[in-house]
C-alpha cells in the first residue's frame, strides 16, 4: 500500500506503466492466431492482467479495512486507501467482465455465459458496488470508515465460499466451460505476453491508487476548509447581530 506523497513517484510509476502497457498491446496484438481460438487468444495479454489487478484491488481494500479496524494501526489513510482501491477495483472488474465475455465469443457466439469465472466476477462487481454505495452515505468520517471496513471484511469472507459454490455449480454441472487458460503446450510468446500484461496492469493499478488516494485526501481537506469557513462566517454574523 503506497502513500501518495511525491509527484516524482507518480511520474516514474506512470512512465513505467505507459511503457509496459504499450509493450503489452504491441506484443499482444502481434501474437499469432491459434488453432483453437484464432485471434481471440490474443486477449491473453489483457484479460488475465485486468483480472489480476481486480483481485489485487479487492485484496487491498480488505487489508486496508482490517488495518483501519485494528486500533494500533488505525489511520485515516487506510480508510482512504480502502475506498480508493474499491473504486479502482470496480473499473478493473468491469474490464475483466468485458474482456472475459469477448474471449468467450468464438466458443458461444453470445455476449454472456454463466461460466464459473465470469459469474464470480459479476458477484465481485456487485460486492464492490454495494461497498461503494455504503461509502456514499453521509456520516461522520470515522463512523463511515468503521461501517465500510466491516462491510469490506464481510464481503471478503464470502469470496471463498462463493468460489466453491459457483465452481461446483458451473463446472461440474455443465459440460460448458470457458477455457481461457492457455493449453500447456502454448508457445512461450503467449506466456510472455500474459506476464507482461500482469506487470503492466499492476503498474497501472498502483498509479491509479496513489492518485485516487491523493484526490480523496485533497477533497476531504477542501470540505473541512469549506466547513471551517462557513462556521467562521456564521460566527461573524452572530457577533454583528448580537
Amino acid at each position: 500500500m503506497r502513500k501518495g506523497t511525491s509527484s516524482a513517484l507518480t511520474l516514474s510509476l506512470g512512465f513505467a506503466a505507459v511503457v509496459a502497457l504499450s509493450a503489452t498491446v504491441v506484443l499482444g496484438l502481434t501474437l499469432p492466431k491459434t488453432f483453437e481460438q484464432e485471434e481471440y487468444s490474443r486477449l491473453i495479454a489483457v484479460h488475465p492482467g485486468v483480472a489480476w489487478a481486480a483481485y489485487i484491488a479487492f485484496g487491498v481494500t480488505a487489508v486496508a479495512s482490517a488495518l483501519w479496524l485494528l486500533p494500533r494501526t488505525r489511520s485515516r489513510t487506510w480508510d482512504l486507501v480502502a475506498g480508493a482501491s474499491a473504486e479502482i477495483g470496480v473499473v478493473f472488474t468491469a474490464l475483466m467482465l468485458v474482456t472475459g465475455s469477448i474471449w468467450g465469443r468464438p466458443t458461444w457466439g453470445v455476449y454472456w455465459v454463466w461460466d464459473a469465472r465470469l459469474t464470480l466476477s459479476a458477484l465481485m462487481l456487485m460486492l464492490l458496488v454495494g461497498y461503494l454505495a455504503l461509502r456514499r452515505v453521509p456520516a461522520d468520517p470515522d463512523v463511515r470508515a468503521q461501517r465500510s471496513a466491516f462491510v469490506a471484511l464481510l464481503s471478503v469472507l464470502v469470496v471463498p465460499v462463493n468460489h466453491y459454490a459457483v465452481e461446483w455449480w458451473r463446472t461440474l454441472h455443465q459440460s460448458r466451460s470457458l477455457d481461457m487458460t492457455p493449453s500447456d503446450d502454448l508457445d512461450g510468446e503467449f506466456i510472455a505476453a500474459m506476464m507482461l500484461g500482469l506487470l503492466a496492469f499492476t503498474l497501472v493499478y498502483a498509479w491509479l491508487l496513489v492518485h485516487r488516494v491523493r484526490v480523496a485526501r485533497l477533497e476531504e481537506e477542501r470540505e473541512d476548509e469549506a466547513l471551517a469557513v462557513a462556521i467562521d462566517e456564521r460566527r461573524r454574523e452572530a457577533e454583528v447581530v448580537g
Binding site: 460486492l127 461497498y131 464481510l154 459457483v166 461440474l172
Partner: protein, 223 residues
Amino acid sequence: MWRDALAVAGKDLRIERRSRVGLQQIVPFAVLVIVLFAFALDPDRGVLVQAAAGLFWIAVLFSTLLAVQRSQAIEGADGVRDATLLSGLDPSGVFLGKAIAVAVQLLLLEVVLAAGVVVLYDVDVEGIGTLAITAVAATVGLAAVGSLYGALATGLHVRETLLPLLLLPVVAPVLIAATRASESALADTTFEVAPADWVGLLAVFAVVYVAFGLVAYGSLLED
C-alpha cells in the same frame, strides 16, 4: 452469553407473537412472490415445476430482507445500538438472540412456503429429510449474515435500499447451494454434486458468519 441470547430471542419472538407482523405481512409477501412467479413463468410451459426450488429460495431471500429489517425496526429508531450498549447485555448474546429469532421466523415461513410451492407448482417431493437439513443449514447462515448487515445498516436513512444491495450478493452462494440441494430432493432430477456437499457448503457459510458475528458484533455497533 447464552442467557442473554435466549432472553433477546425470547423477547423478539414474543413481540412477533403480539404484533404478528411476520405472520400478517412477511408470510403473505412470500406467498405473493411465489404466485407472481407463476404469473411470470406460465405454469403450462413446464418451466415452473423445473424452477420450483430456485423460486422457493428466491422468495426466502426476499423474505429474509424483510425479516431482518423488522428485527432492526423493533429496537426503535436507533436500532439495535441502544438495545445493546445501554442494556449491559453481552453483544455476542444480542447478536445470537436476534439471529435465532430471525431464523425461527424464517423456518416457519419456509414450511408454509414449501407447502405453497408443492401445491401451486405441482411439485413432487421425494427427499424430505434432505430438504429439512438444507433448510436449516441455509437459514442459520441467512439469519446470521442478515443480522450482521442489518446491524451495520442501522439508523441509515437509506437502509431500505441499501440493505438489499449489500446483502443479496453475499447470500448468492446460499442461493446456489440451497437450490441445488433442494433440487436433488425433488422427483425427476439428476445431480452431479452430492447434496451432502452442498449442505456442507451451507454449513461452512453459516459457521463463518456466526463466528464473525460472535466476535465482531460488539465493535460493529460502536461508533
